[in-house]
């Protein structure tokens, strides 16, 4: 588990250190008042539609948005819906139907709310963001167990596979999960108020409601739930539009040290 931390920490340190060695422009003492735009950025995750198109049994969409609250502080939110079908197969090399242990479909929606802190010091006129952030996330979902077999290493009664447990779909509904997310990401202006973004996330589930018969192996918005761990990882690639609403005086940047 610690490796997850380490890799994320490395990412974080890199982001911060590298954003810090870019000195702010030597601010000339000019008389013009400089302003920064404040407003709403909204967009969509590109990875989910692409994965929906490329992958069987997955559809997903995620809307993203943030609002510049203060010079470096943004309120941020994501809203999404995902559906994913998966099956657990014993022995990947021979995915015959008799080796399918169970097959299930998860569908549900999620919302993530939190803040981003911009660690990047822009030159005047630029509004790029390299951020670290946190989210509270909540997802409601259901699992449908499409089919299942009994795992049994003894093949005496079933030499060719596993004995079928059920092949009629059974739905486990009304499930939910709450988790906290640490986010590291970037939003870079590519052309006139349009931004490309990418973020990686480390989630920690602190509460979940699961069905007695079938645990939460995958949660919309959270991604794969690992055995014996509350951590999970996810990411997004976003395209968004920044809608400037008002301007505020630019906060003076610290002088570079000589």
């Amino acid at each position: 588990m610690s490796r997850y931390f380490i890799s994320l920490l490395c990412l974080l340190c890199l982001g911060i250190s590298w954003s810090q060695d870019q000195n702010p422009s030597a601010s000339q003492a000019d008389s013009l008042e400089r302003t920064d735009p404040y407003g709403i950025r909204f967009g969509v995750d590109l990875s989910r539609p692409v994965l929906s198109f490329l992958t069987d049994r997955y559809t997903g969409i995620e809307l993203v948005g943030d609002f510049r609250l203060r010079d470096r502080l943004f309120l941020a939110a994501e809203l999404g819906n995902e559906e994913k079908g998966q099956s657990e197969i014993l022995g990947e090399e021979d995915p015959g139907p008799s080796n399918v242990l169970y097959d299930y479909t998860t569908k549900g929606s999620y919302v993530k709310l939190g803040v981003n802190f911009n660690s990047y010091q822009n030159w005047y006129g630029m509004n790029n963001v390299i951020y670290v952030g946190g989210r509270y996330a909540f997802s409601t979902f259901s699992h449908t167990l499409n089919s299942a077999s009994y795992f049994n290493s003894n093949r005496y009664w079933d030499p060719n596979g596993f004995t079928l447990l059920t092949d009629s779909a059974q739905e486990f509904g009304g499930l939910n999960a709450s988790w906290l997310e640490m986010v590291v990401g970037i939003n870079a202006e590519v052309i006139g108020n349009f931004y490309m973004g990418v973020s990686v996330r480390l989630g920690y589930i602190f509460s979940q409601k699961s069905a007695e018969e079938f645990p939460n192996l995958w949660i919309p918005g959270f991604n794969k739930v690992t055995d014996g761990s509350n951590f999970g990882t996810s990411f997004n690639y976003t395209l968004s539009y920044f809608l400037p609403l008002y301007k505020k005086a630019r906060i003076p940047q610290p002088e570079p040290l000589d």
């Binding site: 990412l11 030159w123 077999s149 290493s153 009664w157 447990l165 970037i186 490309m196 990411f235």
Partner: protein, 175 residues
Amino acid sequence: MHSRPFPIASILILCSLTLVSVIFMAGCEKDDICVDGNTPLLIVRFYDQADPESTKTVAGIRVIGIGNGAAVSSFADRSTLDSIGIPLRLDMGATEFVFISNSEDDNGMEIGNQDTLRFTYIPSSTFVSRACGFIGQYEDLSSEFTSDADNWIQSIEISTPFVQSIDSAHVKIFH
């Protein structure tokens, strides 16, 4: 307006970092091999009819599942044992076995003493882990014993009616 080579380089670096970390994390995942559980065998222990507290081995024990015809392979066939594990059917609530003591072939004919046993139960399932999925369990185990002119089995006792692990014996057979 100033311009700096910020966006493209940064995006490239962060994208590749994302990719690297995703691959790295995927590499840390547990192997998809089921080690967390298994459908239990029915553990049968043989006891001495004259001294019900002590176990007694059966020489040349062989068990054949009725409906399969082959000897059960979960223990060494025709060996001398005081305890065996045999698989129960999961597709129905009863399994019948022929228990043979002193099993031996004479010109292709079984000359050991054959006794027929029938175990009835309710198959159930429990989810163990991602890699294993569901395993079977057997609830409300009971046994029936067909008596014939020359039974080597004297009596049977169910000691654990809920078969969910192989840590302890489920059935005692006195002979």
